[in-house]
Amino acid sequence: MTEPHTGAHEDEYRIARLRERLAGDDVAELGIQVEQRGGAVLLTGTVPTVGHRDEILLLARGELGGLTVRVDLEVACADAPDRWEELS
């Protein structure tokens, strides 16, 4: 019987599971990108609040334990614009 493979492909499934959990009922964040880069897992995207970013980070570290997690999650800017676009 062939022994099950472990290794890099297992990380890929863990990342897929994290994406599913991010899209699940609790977090409901579909706009977060999760990708392997340079031996680490990179999370990118924009979230409404700092609290949401912390929530995602906690979930990622739990799901990806043992892997290096790098986070480039921005908090959405809630400022009014200082310019408009003229459509003529």
């Binding site: 009922d25 409901a28 579909l30 706009g31 990108q33 995207g45 924009t46 979230v47 409404p48 609040t49 609290g51 949401h52 921005e74 959405a76 800017c77 809630a78 400022d79 009014a80 614009p81 200082d82 310019r83 408009w84 676009e85 003229e86 459509l87 003529s88």
Partner: protein, 267 residues
């Protein structure tokens, strides 16, 4: 495109052109119950720089009526008309009817295959809205074939597009000086640039663009594509703007439209 230096965040009364209809728009604000007041400061300044506010769906995070109360609190009484469509997040908990009711109680015109005519800035401005749905773009789209699930998927988009065509048609009959198509899903791939190509079919459908081009519009506004870009155009020449908040990077985007513009191809 021309970008002019506009009113300050504190609300200068300066305007670019006196005949312009000033449209503020944002989508994908994803407000949870812990987000009260997040956008209110910016929205309070809208009376100084905009004639109407468009909300392009995904207003809530989990799609609950309780979250819609937060959204309602952000826009209630801001002094200009507010028109919205819902997004996929707003359907997640099966409370879309409750969300619609909460927003309408706050004075928001919530559209799903419908239109509204506003008298703003001395003009009749019509907005036709639908959430829309996905399926992909010309040459790379899902077909109404095979399993019942697949047929239902494509028919959902087709129905939504048909209702958008009818709603825009109503506005043409009504003699609006400007017509705007408001959706959550994208009508064109242009504004998806930056998203993974593999997920384009889940971000919009050419059927929405076909509806816009066949009925005519001055502007198409959508959200949904967080990693996309702001500017696009339909095959028929209608300008498209992706106003997902992560894309525009502000509380809202501002567009000045002129009623004597080209007016869309099917006018």
């Amino acid at each position: 495109m021309s970008v002019a230096t506009g009113p300050s965040a504190t609300g200068s009364s300066a305007t670019a052109a006196e005949d312009a209809v000033r449209v503020a728009a944002v989508g994908d604000i994803h407000l949870g119950e812990d987000c009260t007041g997040l956008l209110r400061t910016a929205f309070d300044g809208l009376t100084d720089c905009a004639d109407l506010l468009l909300l392009a769906g995904d207003l809530t995070r989990h799609g609950t009526a309780a979250e819609a109360e937060v959204v309602a609190g952000e826009v209630r009484g801001i002094g200009i008309p507010v028109v919205a469509v819902l997004g996929n997040h707003d359907y997640h908990s099966g409370e879309e009817a409750g969300i619609t009711r909460v927003l309408r109680d706050a004075g928001v015109a919530v559209l799903e295959g419908e239109s509204v005519v506003l008298s703003v800035a001395g003009h009749k401005v019509g907005v036709a809205g639908t959430k829309g749905f996905c399926g992909g773009f010309v040459g790379r789209s899902a077909g109404e074939f095979g399993e019942p699930e697949m047929k239902a998927f494509v028919r959902t988009t087709r129905l939504s597009a048909a209702r958008l065509t009818a709603a825009l048609g109503d506005l043409a009959v009504g003699g609006c000086a400007l017509r705007i198509a408001l959706t959550h899903f994208s009508p064109v791939p242009d504004t998806l640039a930056g998203e993974p190509l593999e997920i384009y079919p889940f971000l919009g459908s050419y059927l929405l663009a076909e509806a816009i081009d066949s009925a005519g519009a001055d502007l198409s506004v959508h959200g949904h594509a967080h990693l996309g870009t702001e500017h696009g155009m339909t095959a028929g020449g209608v300008r498209v703007r992706n106003v997902a908040q992560p894309v525009i990077g502000k509380a809202y985007a501002l567009y000045h439209l002129h009623p004597d513009g080209h007016g869309g191809p099917a006018r």
